[in-house]
Amino acid sequence: MKFFNFHLMPYADVDLDAIKKNGTAWISFSNSNFDPLKGAKLYNRYLDELEYSDQLGFDGVVVNEHHQTAYGLMPVPAVLAGALSRSVKKGKIGVLGRALPLVNNPLTIAEEYAILDTITEGRLIAGFVRGIGAEYHSMGINPAHSKDRFNEAHDLIIRAWTEPGPFEFVGKHYHFKYVNPWPLPYQKPHPPIWVPSQGSKDTIEWAARMKYTYCQTLSPIKSVAKVFDGYRAAAEKFGYIASPDQLAWSMSMFIAETDEKAREMAKPHIEALVNQLLSIPIQMLLPPGYTSPESLKKIAESGVVGHHKTIDNLIEEGVVIIGSPETAREKLEEFSELAGFGNILVKTQFGTMLTEMARENIEAIAREILPKFQN
């Protein structure tokens, strides 16, 4: 199994009561709550944490992309990946990001990724996402065009990387007279592509067909297993057996000496992440057109959005692994048997967690978990 330290880079100094009062940490939560002096400390400590996990033997580090929110401070993830590209010496650098439909010229993404891949001599993992619904509010992109724009932007970027330029790209949303980016990616034919999703059937099938690594995020382990089964079934339909390398589980892990201590220490931070930083009203999360009317109706009826969760819920459902080293090893063994993933994206820092605690957690995972599970 490969271990990645996945950072969300939250605004950890956030006033949780201010989020509660506003109802969400997204879009409408005023950036007057952001203090650049604190921001400077946060960015630097987060980059330090990612570099530290590289030094301690993680297989890679991962950043992502969200806009106009205290949930994560990486609206332009390539800047963070660029900062890491010279300091992360061994591991891969994953960007999960970029949200293709949010840009009006996806060639800039082809360029960003090619630069990162070249500087790191082929250690980039290129994420392709649609972005969550909230981004369509904050970036002013029509959610009804999201899927079309994603598909076109994907085709454009892949062709830009694999076909000699210059050539003309003709699409409905994107039309470029000249496609001829310099540089080209270091890896051939192009960097590995990862596709994170919340379990949309179309996305799973598409990723399986393209042999892209599929990444399931923030879900109970039973749903993760079901989704991964769906990927494996789709792969079979497309005539091959999916390898565990094609599946990534994104989760949070925290390890302390005992289960009780780990729970006690992690509780405020994981609950701040799930109940405050992640709290998004449904009309913000799922703007019309972002999902099909059928699935929008299903989600609205199921009431899955916006449920308050405790750390006990999250542990019980296997959304996270929090406990003693022994418990963590047992759970990971059990979950990996159940869901069959070859990559695990571990949020070692989450919510309001301070850096000392995050670094101890990185050390504990490197010491207690990696040796048993890493290939």
Binding site: I27, S28, I141, N142, A144, Q283, P288, G289, P293
Partner: protein, 244 residues
């Protein structure tokens, strides 16, 4: 499409909420006019055709519609999104029209004027934003937010997003051509419209040569529902004066 009454032809283009039901103000108008209420493609029971990408497409659709039903001397009335369609239609071709009535119409943009983001609020907040009378807002919400209407509401919302998400509910290139409309035009507006504040009425009046304006006090975004008597009086007065 619904059609009732006799007399001069009045075509009503509905707003983003859809046009699935025959409302009391339509019934009253049908006592004086031949009232035609089509439902836009992409709304309610209508199909969602591939050609439907922007409001201009609906303008051309309705020009063809008028032709297909051989409608002439039409008094074209549009509410909100329907007003936007009507204005787009009129800048292209007025040959079938006798007059234009814009009711709290979308399509325009006035910097600084009140304009709630209907996509970022809850259904209840949306009803509250649409009506001045909050009691009416809640009773309309009760009447309209039923399980039977849920599918239609999702579909209507989807089409509205497709047409109006960005730029939000207006077409910058339409505004410069509103001056082409050589047609008796009435702008009717709720004084307390929070979707498009009354500055929008001023702007439409200023952009369409010779346009008249009626502002209905203590009234929100849908005067035809909230203040039907004042609304119909304004319509009758206008059509009575301009009709040949």
């Amino acid at each position: 499409m619904r059609r009732k009454g006799a007399g001069k032809t009045l075509v009503f283009l509905h707003g983003a909420g859809g046009g699935s039901s025959w409302l009391p103000f339509m019934e009253t108008l049908s006592h004086s006019y031949d009232v035609i209420v089509p439902e836009h493609p992409g709304y309610g029971a209508s199909s969602d055709p591939d050609w439907l990408e922007r409001v201009e497409d609906l303008a051309y659709f309705y020009l063809d519609f008028l032709k297909a039903f051989d409608l002439t001397d039409v008094h074209l009335m549009g509410l909100s999104l329907g007003g936007w369609i009507a204005a787009e239609l009129a800048i292209r071709d007025t040959s079938c029209l006798a007059s234009l009535i814009l009711v709290d119409a979308a399509g325009n943009f006035v910097e600084g004027a009140e304009s709630v983001d209907i996509f970022l609020i809850t259904p209840e907040e949306r009803f509250r934003a649409i009506y001045y009378d909050q009691g009416l807002a809640l009773s309309e919400m009760k009447r309209l937010m039923t399980p039977e209407n849920a599918d239609t509401a999702v579909k209507n919302n989807f089409t509205t997003a497709k047409l109006a998400w960005q730029p939000r509910a207006y077409n910058p290139s339409m505004l410069k051509w509103l001056k082409r409309i050589e047609l008796p035009t009435l702008v009717i507006w709720g004084a307390n419209d929070r979707a498009f504040g009354p500055e929008y009425a001023d702007s439409y009046q200023a952009l369409i040569p010779g346009a008249e304006k009626v502002i209905i006090p203590e009234c929100g975004h849908v005067p035809n529902v909230e203040k039907p008597e004042e609304f119909i009086a304004a319509v009758n007065d206008f059509i009575g004066r301009v009709a040949t």
